[in-house]
Symmetry: none
Subunit: 195 residues, 2 copies
């Protein structure tokens, strides 16, 4: 992918500018988005959307619309995927209801983000994203960031399809893998955060 931050989709450059490609989040942006989503904020209100956008903007060009679309697609997809997965191993059952307990293994960027947003708990409205900016990035438009650099190389691979609602998940099993198309962390169910 363009890596730069979704701003230069130009593959050949030169003569194909008419079609502005679509936005493609880079690892850092994905990580943040994924985390927010997993934190329970599956449908951020307008205000938050802007905040999130500002945050992601530091890692590459992105618009509020992109954020909006991302969450919307994410939710829809999550739901669909889960419904389908459920049908597979329906009969037997049971087994363990393995509780969620989604926590990061060691000390990964994900863990850090988790802390910031409220860990596994779930979406504490007031501070939310704002604090993150002040803490991590607000420093300025400078360039380098901090932990996020880690994300730049992490290819998190997850098998969400797994047990539908039941698979717990070690969030980031950071590995040196190439950055595949990953996605899915594992979204237990649909948590409807209070509006």
């Amino acid at each position: 992918m363009d890596g730069g931050g979704g701003q230069s989709p130009d593959r050949h450059a030169a003569g194909r500018p008419p079609v502005r490609s679509r936005w493609t989040p880079n690892p850092e942006q994905r990580l943040i988005l994924e985390f927010i989503f997993n934190s329970g904020m599956v449908n951020p209100p307008k205000g938050e959307t802007v905040r999130i956008r500002k945050l992601l903007e530091r890692f590459g060009a992105v618009g509020d619309a992109n954020i909006f679309y991302w969450f919307r697609n994410r939710r829809s997809r999550s739901r669909r995927r889960q419904a389908q997965a459920q049908a597979t191993a329906a009969a037997a059952a049971a087994s363990s209801g393995s509780p969620p307990a989604a926590a990061a293994p060691g000390g990964s960027a994900a863990a850090l983000l988790g802390m910031m947003f409220g860990g596994a708990g779930g979406y504490t409205s007031p501070p939310s994203v704002g604090m993150m900016m002040g803490d991590v990035d607000c420093g300025g438009g400078g360039g380098d960031d901090d932990l996020f650099a880690i994300a730049r190389q992490m290819g998190y691979r997850s098998m969400d399809g797994g047990g539908g609602g039941g698979s717990s998940s070690s969030a980031a099993a950071v590995a040196g893998q190439q950055q595949h198309q990953m996605y899915h962390w594992c979204q237990p169910g649909e948590a409807r955060p209070p509006p």
Copy 2:
């Protein structure tokens, strides 16, 4: 709910049954709808809705509900876009003052429609659509139409401006293009700003 229509978008049509769950307006229908909307009738009353439906019906199956939904979505999205555009417009300096000026190249179907509806003016209650029907469709549901055939091949590109009031309107332009996905964007946020 009605889901009234179900006409085939003819994407890869062939031996595929028209199992269309949701209505998709074809170019002709879109053109008409766009024009009506741009003419100022952003919220046609019940009576007009039926008339419009009858008109569009000649170009493909469509239900009253579809018309209703279309206008409703259109209104909502138009507004959204404007609000967003306003928010976006701030930093950039307005150096070039010739944004619009998008008119059809030669003589387009839009122009014709414009004439029928009363030009670029805006929604004259009494005659409005009615006259169009009498003119174009009254003939019966028979076979081909007249000028509308032109629209069948045009891939218009519209840019709604004021969403109602008295925006100028050349609803359509260009032609010969394949049916991409055009239209404007949607909810909040902004689109991909050019790098």
